[in-house]
Amino acid sequence: MANATQGYRGSEDYIASKPLMEIVNVAVALGKPLVVKGEPGTGKTLLAHSISRALNKKLIVWNIKSTTKAKDGLYVYDTVQRLNDARFKDKDISDIRQYIKLGRLGQSFKSEEQLVLLIDEIDKADIEFPNDLLNELDEMSFHIHELDEEVVAKHRPIVIITSNSEKELPDAFLRRCLFYYIEFPDDEMMERIVKVHYPDIESKLAKEALKKFYWIREMDGLRKKPSTSELLDWIKALALGGIHLEKIGSEIPFLGTLLKNEQDTDRFIKLSSAQGGFGFKRRF
């Protein structure tokens, strides 16, 4: 089928690797949810935004918190409001429909056009949460007990689910999804990403910055490795600060944008002085 290769091809401000593009396209074609995992800062959440922009479809974001229940995503029956309205008889409360509010998943099912639904950080929720959504995501339909009505998706939404692997997802859930692990981008890819965000940046500055960035990432024992978003911040700071190229070679200006806690900064200073700034000490 030819259209699997057409369709999603990344968007202006998001660079997707080729396999990822293809998997997105297959997921769209088959109407299966796509589970995206990867280090923080590899652009899991942005993927959904990018898909929505590239395919020109509306995006609905369902942010998951530790207290989120699966049912919240389907619908909420606002009993309190109804009772309250019953107290003052100025409203017709016999129509239960006005107290049923659809959740994010429900909205995406009911929509007249196909949407992109992002279920963000599904692993934040209770360990049983994904299991409660099995049928809903499989059949793309659910039942509203209060109305005795079946909500069936008119157009299967493009479902993107992100996970930080705080909790593992249940097998039964994963079986129904496609899975992709976004690797941390290598330097070539990263250069393209930087270019997309700062098209005017001097390519020499970007190259130097990237070199240092990967050097820091390879240091042992950092609590939090700097990720893409930190790199972008750093480059922006460098560009704004008008730092000269020679300076990046010998020291790291604006270190605070890359390393976010004290222990890492200490560790960095210790290692960089021990290694004389080259970072391949252990490999001999």
Binding site: M1, A4, T5, P19, E22, I23, V26, A27, A29, L30, K32, L34, V35, K37, S66, T79, V80, L83, N84, A86, R87, D126, I127, E166, K167, E168, L169, P170, D171, L174, R175, R176, C177, L178, F179, Y180, Y181, E183, D187, K211, K212, W215, G249, F278, G279, F280, R283, F284
Partner: protein, 410 residues
């Protein structure tokens, strides 16, 4: 079609289910793979592998199954190119260091015929199909290899030592995901599910749940005037203290204990979770760190934690007779104890009626005298999923005092 691949995957430990295989087949039938091995690799992986921990196993299986098929020549050439220019990915070097490196490489080339090496490498790529651990293969053996030695570290070459490059899809044999292989995490979920049973729901916190029964009741009493009654939502009030043995005899079970530990610490549903370590058995101090440097007086456990805390002790409970029963019996020569360990264990049981002992060794080995004694103080369970379930049951139920327990066992 490809059904052997399914079994190859399973043989390599990738937990592929029939559902997944069927949707993979469906995609295959619909022609999404465009008869390209690369497409098959990436899409197949998305369909069949659901955790990055299995990416490596998938790579191996893919190699084994599709290994013989010739694909783009380019990939192999690229690897060769890397091998010839190991320097281009290094951080910036000073001229002296660069010169030194060049000199070393040159020296290496003088002593070893580089063409001969390349030939061997190519040969090895052809021969090697399976994973080879250890041994003196010249790629990836640290100091002796030109590639490992000079910090040449693109994903590609780590392959060399352990797996072949009979390249079907380049990436499959690169095995870039080897580092994500993490067999420990596989069972954490099961452990968590067992621990999850450990809960006591109590009404605490803000009043935010509508109490429907009470609302109806009050409303009726008010003669139809609606009266909303809210209730505090229910929260888990379990507080857990985990005490873990770090003694030498526990070494074989490190992984198992890590699993339990990571499951317990990842569980957000406990009201409070504390952990301490000890060596073989507990005396007047427990430790905050595995290395047993940061002492915390055991006495503090009694003053800081009330008796509602649930205590789980993990240890093999087998030790020298004197360690348990004698004053100054501790195995560490620098440590003196004026009360025998047994006394401390009894105090823990007295103070924390909800306490159990998890033993990673098999029940058959519990005949040891100290194990038997400790088993009389604490209800003892195997550190298995079933044992854990039973332990959780005991922790949640009304507990029996030591006397009742000893009467039972007598």
């Amino acid at each position: 079609m490809f059904i052997d691949f399914f079994y190859t995957l399973r043989k390599h430990g990738v937990p592929v289910s029939i559902t997944e295989w069927m949707s993979f087949m469906e995609a295959l039938y619909n022609g999404y793979f465009q008869s390209s091995l690369n497409h098959l690799y990436y899409l197949g992986r998305a369909f069949l592998v659901k955790s990055e921990a299995f990416y490596d196993a998938f790579d191996l299986a893919f190699q084994e199954y599709f290994g013989g098929i010739k694909t783009e020549k380019l990939e192999l050439d690229k690897v060769m190119e890397w091998l010839e220019n190991p320097l281009h990915r290094l951080p910036k070097l000073s001229p002296e260091e660069m010169a030194e490196l060049q000199r070393q490489i040159q020296e290496f080339r003088n002593t070893h015929d580089i063409d001969e090496l390349m030939r061997q490498f190519r040969e090895r790529l052809k021969e090697q199909k399976e994973r080879h651990d250890g041994g003196g293969k010249w790629i990836g053996t640290g100091g002796t290899s030109p590639f490992g030695a000079y910090g040449f570290h693109p994903g590609g070459i780590r392959v060399g030592g352990e797996s072949g490059m009979q390249s079907a899809a380049k990436v499959a044999s690169e095995r870039r995901f080897r580092n994500y292989r993490n067999d420990i995490i596989l069972d954490v979920r099961q452990t968590k599910m067992a621990l999850k049973k450990l809960r006591e729901l109590k009404r605490e916190g803000l009043e935010e749940e509508l109490d429907i029964d009470e609302t109806i009741d009050r409303t009726a009493k008010e003669g139809g005037e609606i009266e909303l009654v809210f209730n505090k939502s229910r929260e888990n009030s379990v507080r857990l203290v985990l005490l873990m043995d770090t003694g030498g005899s526990m070494l074989p079970y490190t992984e198992l204990c890590e699993r339990l530990f990571s499951a317990a610490s990842q569980m957000e549903h406990f009201k409070e979770f504390r952990y301490y370590f000890f060596h073989n058995t507990i005396y007047q101090d427990v430790y905050e760190d595995i290395q047993n440097y940061k002492k915390v007086p055991t006495e503090k456990l009694f003053s800081n934690f009330h008796k509602g805390y649930k205590v789980v002790i993990v240890g093999d409970a087998s030790m020298a007779y004197s360690e348990l029963f004698d004053i100054n019996g501790c195995i560490d020569y620098f440590y003196t104890n004026d009360k025998p360990s047994l006394e401390w264990l009894l105090r823990i049981k007295e103070h924390f009626p909800h306490s159990v002992w998890l033993n990673p060794t098999h029940m058959n080995f519990w005949g040891h005298y100290t194990v038997d004694t400790i088993g009389k103080i604490f209800p003892m369970y195997e550190l298995t999923v079933d044992g854990l379930k039973d332990a959780v049951k005991t922790l949640s139920s009304r507990t029996k005092s030591i006397r009742q327990l000893s009467e039972m066992s007598a």
